[in-house]
């Protein structure tokens, strides 16, 4: 493991790839790797790309990666696709749209299956971002699974979150719903050459204007954090709505400009630190949760778990009582 960690930090692709596999498959390996690499992380600009299936996320990632390469920055890409809830298998097809990036040593692409994790990412995604960060990729693009309305985990891991929409996906009431649109630092209307794109842009802009004002917290602060993190004063970032046509590269340079502006804004307004703190809080909570669950699994016999679940199914016990009984086993 030590060799792998050292070679990964040197940016050796084979070592990075093997390390990612180990971290993906084993909680112990993830712990060892993150513990060793954490002091070397914190340099990368992590950019999340989310939106509904078919909006053009992979194609946009392809274009963004090319644009950052023209700026002489190396790019790490993590592309997450869903695992089957029935067989655990997955078809990871994001590379199909990223063929332009082949042969460039300054780009590392890794496809990941969500492996039953909800929220649009895989459980190991946070650890893998750290591997790429420690391998000194200044830009890390994280593409989520095709997201519906509530897959908002990416906002707690990325510094800049792009939400990709496409024309014709619903009327303007869709844009008023809570959830994914709220996490956008930049809203992208891709396939802007299609009919209806202007209307989609207009309704997104209207949604943003109606919510404008100092009382409205936005971008990336989820309710749990909003309560505890100090609200950043002079929260002046106005979420832009940008049209792109990723298949021919139109609008990409404006989008890269907006991403860079957002980074400068975060750093100048101390929102960067606030985001890091929110991310750290969420990560610690998540790891604690996973550990408690593991603890529960080892300290409570399967028979007892089964008995309680059977009792709940038979309406002999309510689910709260069952949980209280289980919890008593680990916190007597």
């Amino acid at each position: 493991m030590d060799d792998l960690l050292r070679q990964a930090r040197d940016g050796r692709p084979r070592a990075i790839a093997r390390l990612i596999t180990l971290v993906e498959n084993s909680e112990t390996a993830a712990e060892t790797a993150v513990t060793a690499l954490y002091p070397h992380t914190g340099q990368a600009h992590v950019i999340g790309i989310t939106g509904p299936p078919g909006a053009g996320k992979s194609t946009l990632v392809n274009e963004l990666a090319k644009a950052f390469r023209r700026l002489d920055q190396t790019v790490g890409i993590i592309a997450v696709d869903p695992s089957s809830p029935f067989t655990g298998g997955a078809l990871l097809g994001d590379r199909v749209r990223m063929r332009d990036l082949a042969g460039d040593r300054g780009i590392f692409i890794r496809s990941m299956a969500s492996r039953g994790n909800l929220g649009g990412l895989a459980e190991a995604t946070a650890a893998i971002i750290k591997i790429l960060d420690a391998a000194r990729f200044p830009i890390i693009l994280v593409e989520t699974v095709g997201a519906g309305q509530a897959e908002v985990d990416i906002a707690t891991m990325a510094h800049t979150t792009l939400v990709i929409e496409a024309p014709g996906m619903g009327d303007d009431i869709q844009t008023f719903k809570a959830g994914i649109l709220e996490i956008a630092d930049v809203l992208v209307v891709n396939k802007a050459d299609r009919p209806g794109a202007d209307r989609t842009i207009k309704s997104l802009e209207m949604m943003l204007h109606l919510g404008a004002g100092p009382a409205t917290g936005h971008h990336g602060r989820l309710p749990a954090e909003a309560a505890t993190e100090p609200v950043v004063a002079h929260d002046l970032w106005a979420v832009p709505v940008l049209p792109t046509t990723a298949v021919n590269g139109e609008g990409i340079s404006d989008l890269v400009g907006a991403i860079q502006r957002h980074r400068r804004y975060l750093q100048a307004s101390s929102s960067w630190l606030a985001k890091e703190k929110a991310r750290s809080r969420r990560e610690v909570e998540r790891l604690l949760q996973a550990r408690l669950l593991r603890q529960l699994r080892v300290s409570v016999s399967l028979d007892l778990q089964e008995a309680l679940i059977t009792a709940v199914a038979a309406r002999e016990m309510d689910p709260y009582t069952a949980v209280a009984r289980l919890f008593a086993q680990i916190s007597p």
């Binding site: 790839a17 596999t21 993906e24 067989t87 298998g89 097809g93």
Partner: protein
């Protein structure tokens, strides 16, 4: 997170033919067998395939070739795998491969060839066994 290795298999189509139905059928069958399939799409060069295999750290590689160029394409992929210290990753082929070429491919180091009429069960079984050996 469970401590177990989920098999990862690259399914790629090298060369210039545009018939990807076979590759998709195999990808789907392996997916349904609980594996993670990295699907690269059409017209991949051997360089692109080996780069993807390396970054994705796959346990096996399946190539679908119907163009007739299976000998040079396979030879190049195997050479690149050796160059990248990945000679231990089993490579299997599907597509239209004349019987005369089968011994040549075996000698090169191809683990298996599945011609027309092969059942997906057979392919799934082969991949599982290849992974257990590896």
């Amino acid at each position: 997170m469970i401590e177990e290795h989920t098999p990862r298999v690259l399914i790629a189509k090298p060369g210039l033919d545009g018939h990807d139905r076979g590759a998709k059928v195999v990808a789907r069958a392996l997916r349904d067998a609980g594996m993670e399939i990295i699907y690269t799409g059409l017209r991949q060069t051997p360089e692109m395939i080996v780069e993807a295999a390396l970054q994705e750290d796959v346990d096996a590689i399946g190539l679908s070739i119907l163009s007739g160029a299976h000998l040079p394409l396979t030879e190049r992929v195997l050479a690149l795998l050796r160059e990248n210290d990945m000679a231990d990753v089993p490579l299997f082929l599907g597509g239209i491969i004349p019987a005369d070429d089968l011994p040549v491919l075996k000698d090169m180091g191809v683990a298996a060839v599945f011609g027309p009429g092969s059942s997906t069960d057979e392919i799934v079984r082969f991949v599982r066994e290849a992974l257990q050996r590896g």
